[in-house]
């Protein structure tokens, strides 16, 4: 229950962190809040020759609202997101997902970028990033590049970030007036990873669903978009939406994992139910907005 030995580096600038990582190669791992990596190290599910701790890089801790997006630095802590007015106003879906992550002691350390880069398919933030078409900004020896969330998640704990790259920030688009947001999940115990869940955003204009986004978690090897359900919603009268039918459509054709926490069949039912519940709450909120 103790990690294998490693070298520890704590750079104070992003450039230094990128250089360190480039020099150390894939023997090194980026450490952010450590709430996923450290348990894996302690259990020796994984080991690295070196850790590059980005927790002391000031510029990665910023929250900025620029035209149309809220940019969250990689190491913004989840407990900060939970109480941040800019996030609450600009990306309510992210704010609503946050209390569902672990326990408050985990959110004290856990970060936005860490959760997204860790890419657990049952985690909330990756599904929110995918649902909202967030953009992931990464930095490496060749400079910076931006990866759309749709091209980011490859599989369980796998992303398209290179071994020599660092997730710098996530840019979440701000949705306009008349929007509503909700996250629903089912977990065995509060704070556990969800069996399945859904993050839903809708915009209602003149009584019609003008825009809909549904992100699923726990339903595959990556977070998933329920595109068919989104299409069925778009243009529909908000008051006449059959939420149960949209839930069914959202999970149609999926083959969620079958493990000791839940069977594949249970995940399909839970996934459909959470989409349905989240959709109803999102539409109610959009109606009030």
């Amino acid at each position: 229950m103790k990690p294998a030995p490693f070298e520890y580096h704590a750079p104070t600038t992003l450039d230094a962190a990128v250089q360190l990582l480039a020099g150390l190669g894939d023997e090194a791992k980026v450490l952010a809040g450590g709430q996923s990596l450290v348990p894996m190290l302690n259990l020796r599910l994984t080991r690295f020759e070196a850790l590059v701790d980005i927790g002391r890089v000031e510029e990665l801790r910023r929250i900025e609202r620029t035209n149309g997006t809220v940019n969250l630095g990689a190491t913004v802590a989840q407990c900060v997101v939970e109480r941040d007015a800019t996030v609450a106003a600009g990306v309510p879906l992210l704010a609503k997902a946050t209390p569902l992550i672990g326990h408050f002691q985990i959110r004290s350390r856990g970060t936005v970028g860490g959760s997204i880069a860790h890419a657990d398919p049952a985690a909330e933030y990756p599904a929110v990033a995918l649902a909202l078409d967030a953009e992931l900004e990464v930095a490496g020896p060749a400079g910076r590049r931006t990866i759309p969330a749709a091209d980011f998640f490859l599989g369980t704990w796998m992303t398209t970030i290179g071994a020599d790259e660092i997730l710098v920030a996530t840019r979440f688009p701000v949705w306009g007036a008349g929007s509503g947001f909700a996250v629903e999940e089912v977990a065995r115990r509060h704070g556990d990873f969800a069996i399945a869940g859904a993050a839903v955003a809708v915009t209602v204009t003149d009584g019609q669903v003008a825009r809909a986004a549904i992100g699923l978690f726990g339903m595959g090897h990556t977070p998933l978009r329920a595109s068919a359900a989104e299409s069925a919603l778009t243009g529909a009268a908000a008051s006449g939406v059959d939420a149960a039918e949209i839930g069914r459509l959202a999970v149609e054709g999926l083959e969620p994992p079958d493990d000791l926490h839940a069977s594949s069949g249970l995940r399909l039912r839970v996934g459909a139910a959470t989409v349905s519940r989240a959709l109803q709450r999102a539409i109610e909120e959009a109606d009030r907005a």
Binding site: M1, K2, P3, A4, P5, F6, E7, Y8, A10, L31, G34, Q35, V38, P39, L41, N42, L43, L51, D53, G55, C79, G102, H103, F104, Q105, I106, S108, R109, R189, H190, G191
Partner: protein, 160 residues
């Protein structure tokens, strides 16, 4: 692997040691600071027995490496009582039978101390959610729940 110096303030006292980077903050507190009130149950962030307050936030000290805490201020369960007098949370755990074997108690007491700072007047739902990150395997949670209610009242009375 090169060892690194760590300097932190624990319960108001400056502490310095040279440690392996892989040493967790929990082991640093227990082995180097000889503060064995911080308990280790699971060592992977599930049980909450090792909870301490790091720069104002309750954290799992088994999921923080001591080197990450360099320059920080830490409060452990040993730092909660003042001049030998139990804190409101500690006193409430005693009066409401919030502990039996006591193994999980330091983590609960520290977590509840942090919880009440954020929610001085918590609802029962907030208390339950606030306690969900700590496991107790013998007392049962009802006494602990009562202790939080009593501690919240006592804290309000003290600050009123």
């Amino acid at each position: 692997m090169p060892e690194l110096p760590v300097s932190v303030i624990v319960n108001g006292v400056s502490r310095t040691a040279v440690v392996e980077p892989r040493k967790t903050l929990a082991d640093f507190l227990r082995d180097d600071c000889r503060l064995t009130g911080t308990h280790l149950g699971c060592e992977h962030g599930v049980c909450g027995a090792c909870t301490v307050i790091l720069d104002g936030r309750a954290v799992r000290s088994c999921l923080v490496f001591a080197v990450q805490a360099e320059g920080s201020e830490i409060t452990t369960v040993e730092g909660l009582a003042t001049d030998g007098e139990l804190s409101a949370v500690q006193a409430a755990f005693e009066s409401e039978h919030g502990l039996q074997c006591g193994f999980c108690t330091p983590g609960f007491v520290v977590s509840v101390t942090a919880l009440l700072e954020q929610h001085p007047d918590p609802t029962d739902d907030e208390i339950r959610e606030g306690l969900s990150g700590n496991l107790c395997r013998c007392t049962g949670y009802q006494g602990i729940l009562r202790a939080v209610r009593v501690a919240a009242e006592a804290t309000k009375a003290r600050t009123a």
